[in-house]
């Protein structure tokens, strides 16, 4: 059914174009990208600043000109970056889409990277990093990712101090060199949803982006990370009111692996991050009253990148020892005893419902289409994967949980008003 909703084609020169017809009164939402991102840049900071600078000026237009142009056509446009893509996204009336795409092509082909705007952007990012240094959840997340992955792995994060040092080293010259290294029409993906046909979408992409260079871009290789030893990391922020705690394990598999669906559904049973339907919220929050929020997830995983399984919880300092023990208990329990048939049935249906509710507006449809193509998939994958999830039983899930979640190898990280030895036992 999803393969009927999101259709796609490949242009002779390499670009992938996706389209989802959705009635939005003459407007469209779109998400596009080329290979790039922090894996190509070497650091998240360079990838982020590079992307943001594309809207700051071109050889033909100043930042002000760009803002006025977007105003004139009633459009929104943003540039950003992911692990492995330079992304552009926005919305505009279908009649003005050609103008907006002409500008995106101009920003990619002729960015001016104005020095004044670079200084301002770097200052703004410094302020963001100063806030990040005091954010307990972010600091715990950084510490856990460093415990689980090597510096070469896409899921490894720099400390805030390292990020500040990298940021200050970014120059206009660095941006120009990075831009030249990634600019290629061969890796282009454009996903459009709204009042548009695939034929029209493909024609527009062909007209506006064909002139991009046809460079070969190869993402750097990295070795998958497997669970090795449990590490414990503390980030002391004594003046904060609460502790953010994360415990996780590297999985060593991508989302293309045969066990992924069962593991994903098992993690949903453990701590579905959407609301109160997971075990962790029922027990640690509702029954024991130890936290406001406690969830399980599998971050950093895609068709190309191996990710990790993680549980997060936030605790008042006095309740932290009990909260940590409760989380560890629930992980051990689900690995040891597995899940019930009733839980599997409910969570299978819930997964299916989420997918449908998620695809109920043009912006989400454009995003999902783009993400599928970025992972080398088509919408048929959504149909297949949903079918796989709906066929899972408690045995599949128990086997996957046992294989990948080894409680003794879970690393831990905590940030906030916490003693140095709080994770010792």
């Amino acid at each position: 059914m999803y393969s009927k909703l999101i259709t796609q084609t490949t242009l002779p020169w390499g670009a992938t174009v996706l389209s989802a017809a959705f009635p939005v009164h003459g407007t469209v939402s779109f998400v596009g990208s080329i290979a790039g991102g922090s894996r190509m840049a070497g650091t998240e900071e360079l990838a982020k600043i590079h992307a943001a600078m594309l809207a700051e000026g071109t050889a033909k237009r100043t930042k002000k000109d760009i803002q006025l142009f977007l105003d004139d056509i009633g459009a929104s446009l943003s540039f950003g970056s992911s692990n492995d893509r330079l992304v552009f996204a926005g919305r505009v009336s279908e009649k003005n889409l050609h103008k907006l795409f002409a500008f995106v092509a101009e920003a990619l082909l002729e960015p001016s990277f104005p020095a004044r705007e670079l200084t301002v952007l770097k200052q703004r990012e410094q302020s963001n990093l100063a806030l990040e240094a005091q954010d307990t959840r972010t600091q715990a997340s950084i510490a856990l990712s460093r415990a689980l992955f090597s510096p070469e792995h896409p899921n490894y994060a720099h400390t805030t101090d390292e990020s500040l040092a990298i940021l200050s080293s970014i120059t206009r010259k660095t941006l120009v060199a990075f831009h030249e290294s990634i600019l290629s029409r061969k890796t282009l993906i454009v996903s459009i949803a709204g009042d548009i046909t695939l034929e029209r979408a493909a024609k527009l992409v062909d007209q506006k982006f064909k002139k991009l260079p046809a460079r070969e871009v190869t993402l750097p290789e990295f070795a998958p990370s497997e669970a090795a030893e449990a590490k414990r990391e503390i980030v002391a922020l004594p003046h904060k009111a609460s502790i953010d705690y994360m415990t996780g394990i590297a999985l060593g598999i991508t989302s293309d692996h045969a066990d992924y669906a069962a593991l994903m559904l098992g993690m949903q049973v453990l701590g579905n991050p959407r609301g109160f339907t997971g075990r962790l919220m029922k027990t640690v929050r509702e029954e024991e009253g130890l936290t406001y929020g406690v969830y399980a997830s599998m971050p950093g995983i895609s068709a190309k990148t191996d990710g990790y399984a993680m549980v997060w919880g936030t605790f008042a300092p006095a309740l932290f020892p009990q909260g940590r023990a409760a989380i560890r208990r629930e992980i051990e329990k689900i690995v040891d005893k597995g899940v019930t048939d009733a839980e599997v049935k409910k969570h299978r249906e819930l997964y299916d419902a989420y997918t449908r509710v998620q695809l109920a507006d043009s912006a989400s449809l454009a995003q999902v289409g783009h993400n599928l193509a970025a992972q080398g998939r088509t919408a048929a994958y959504l149909d297949r994967f949903t079918k796989t999830v709906l066929s899972l039983d408690s045995k599949h899930i128990r086997a996957a949980l046992k294989t990948y979640l080894k409680p003794e190898l879970f690393s831990e990280a905590a940030a906030g008003p916490i003693e140095k030895n709080a994770l010792a036992s």
């Binding site: 017809a21 959705f22 009635p23 939005v24 009164h25 003459g26 407007t27 939402s29 002000k64 803002q67 006025l68 977007l70 105003d71 004139d72 056509i73 009633g74 459009a75 919305r91 505009v92 009336s93 959407r274 609301g275 109160f276 339907t277 409910k346 249906e349 819930l350 299916d352 419902a353 989420y354 449908r356 509710v357 695809l359 109920a360 507006d361 043009s362 912006a363 989400s364």
Partner: protein, 427 residues
Amino acid sequence: MKTTPTLSKVRTVSGVTEYKLSNGLRVLYRREKAAPVVAVCVTFHVGSRNEAPGHTGATHILEHLLFKDSKKFNKKNKKAITDYLEWFGAKINASTWLDCTNYHELLPSEHAEAAIELEADRMRGSLFSDADLASEMTVVRNEYERSRNNPFELLEEEMWGAAFTEHPYRIPTIGLKEDIEGSTAKKLREFYDQYYWPNNATVAIYGDISAKDAEALVLKHFGPIPSSPEAIPEMTIVEPVQTESRAVSIAKPFGVSIVSLGYKIPEATHEDSPAVLALATILADGFSSRLQKKLVDTGLATDVSVSVPELRDPGFMTFTAQINEGVDLAKALTTMRKEILSVLKTPPDKQELARAVERILSHIAYDRDGVLTEVRAVSEAIAAGDWMLVYRAEEHIKAVRPSDILRVAKQYLVASGETSGILKNIA
């Protein structure tokens, strides 16, 4: 004697069918097959405008309490309101403002009945208690503190408080602290019993559900609910005409300084409203707006914005600028006023108006991206007095001419209707 409920078609406009249930409930239905989902939104025609002195904040607290147990959906029978719909993968939320309160869900279409049944049950069957109120007060207090800690919200609220002397719009929806603290389940129950009735509500059902099924579900679940035994109280206070300019001044260590100018505007259903929206857009919405050029591009401010709320009664639009450090705030305010009033001498030409209209048309379209977004927009229009405002907005804004802009500028940008605000950052 019990009578069988009936549902009568009233009209169909822009693909939306309006019905009236025999108990007075208005029903709006639109078939949309683009996604296999249904959005359900119940709008109660009660907002903070209906709160009596001493009971401010009641509408908002009641909104929170309607997520507690109801007769059919409660923790005892393991069908707690939030859990119940979450198991269907639903997106659930609610909101309260000056003129209305709404509760809405988006969920897979085959579960539409779950949302309709739940909304019907809590319309008259909510079981909230003092214990529920006590547990929810932490969240409500936190919301209150956050609004007082936000410099923009604080200045805006103080300006509305000065601009209105009689009408309840002078009190923010969150309420006054002493009233919030003085809330009891008994008082809130009285408020619930006055306003939460089918003849004071509209339910919108949009999505992949047939008219026949939607009609049957409405009759089954909302049909048995009786109309209110007494007439729903009307709020009849009329704000006296403002005859002199007013000013608000705040000095607090917020880290930012702000100046703002507000003017009285007509109710949303007034024929001048589209032109007022276009005027506000020309002046302060977007990078090409006049205040952006005068205040931001010259280095006086870092940002400008405008708020044009669409309300049931005559309201208040505000132009706001975050002022750069070291800039004299009184001078910034004077510059802002001068630029706003310059529209009287230099009205927009066709091109400037066309640019503003293009922006507004984009917003109108984005407000209808997906059935959940659309029913929420419809709920706002219901609050403002006419659900069809959503579907006529495009036609109305396209009809605005440069001469209309000059006319409404003369009518509403008057010194005697002005309220100014300055929030000065102190160390």
